[in-house]
Amino acid sequence: MASTTRKSPYWRGVRDGMPYLIVIGPFALLFGVVATEAGFSVAQTMGFTVLVIAGAAQFTAVQLLSENAPVWVVLTASLGVNLRMAMYSASLTPHLGAAPLWQRALVAYLNVDQSFATASLTYEREPQMAVSDKVAYFLGVMSHMAPVWYLFTWIGAVAGAAIPPEFALDFALPITFLALVAPAVRTLAHLAAAVVAVLAALLAAGLPPGTGILLAGLLGMVTGAETERRMERRR
């Protein structure tokens, strides 16, 4: 593309975030549908989407609440799903740590898989970017994704009640999770983590709601980390 003017960091972010909209829209729609199908009100559904703004954790919380799991189990399992956000936060710190506190708080709220991946790759490629430009870029990436996330959740929540059971919407959740996980399985360690977590989750299915998932997830994490350590040592 021949461009004579230097694009502002904000607008570059807007452009670089565009491709994710095709994933965010349907995913948000699914959440709105799944949550209302499970018996949550539109207001509660929007509460999740605006206050939590993390698809996988929202699906987890909705699933466990609809199974009448205790609050501490719902919170532990959902926050467990979000633990990776702490890693994203750690990874952004060298780039954005010098920004004003309110800007870091805003970036933290908007730090999702897609924005983190897009921004951190750009920062790595262009380390000379000023801190204020890096913040503007990050906000640009999320400037359409966040509103689309809210809007499509609402559409799903409102239209979901009109969708008949033949559409098997119960299966939207496992399909979305498997679709998120499969591309992330890139090494033997990833595969080992996933396989052990699945087996443990199935074996622990008789435990109180959510507890089995928690144990299985932690066991999978330890398996992945241990596999990675041994493979590195063998090299």
Binding site: P26, A56, A77, R84, D170, P174, L178, R229
Partner: protein, 110 residues
């Protein structure tokens, strides 16, 4: 679901605060200190461990069929995994999985 509205809002509020604190943690408080390597190594496997652990029982024992394994849903899960793994494309995997699900529900015995 028998959980009350107040409990649901409590979960929404606490989950919102907790998620924000996870995202804010290092960015807001730690500054430029680095995490120990073993912690990072474990955190790397959080999504690939938790997401399939949540999905697996739903795939094998769907509530919609009263916990009976369902050929269409099993096929849809397999197609989603295969397309996602081969294409590395989340959206494509979702679309393929939905096609397999509806195709399976129309063709396979329930």
């Amino acid at each position: 679901m028998t959980v009350g509205s107040g409990t649901i809002w409590l979960v929404i509020g606490l989950l919102g605060i907790g998620t924000f604190l996870l995202r804010f943690s290092f960015l807001g408080l730690v500054g430029d200190r680095r995490l120990p390597a073993w912690v990072l190594r474990h955190l790397r496997y959080t999504p690939v461990a938790f997401l399939p652990a949540i999905a697996a029982p739903l795939v094998l024992w769907p509530a919609a069929t009263d916990g009976m394994p369902d050929p269409a849903r099993l096929a849809a899960a397999g197609v989603t995994l295969a397309v996602g793994f081969l294409s590395k494309n989340v959206l494509l995997a979702i679309v393929a999985g939905l096609f397999a699900l509806y195709g399976g529900l129309a063709v396979l015995p329930g």
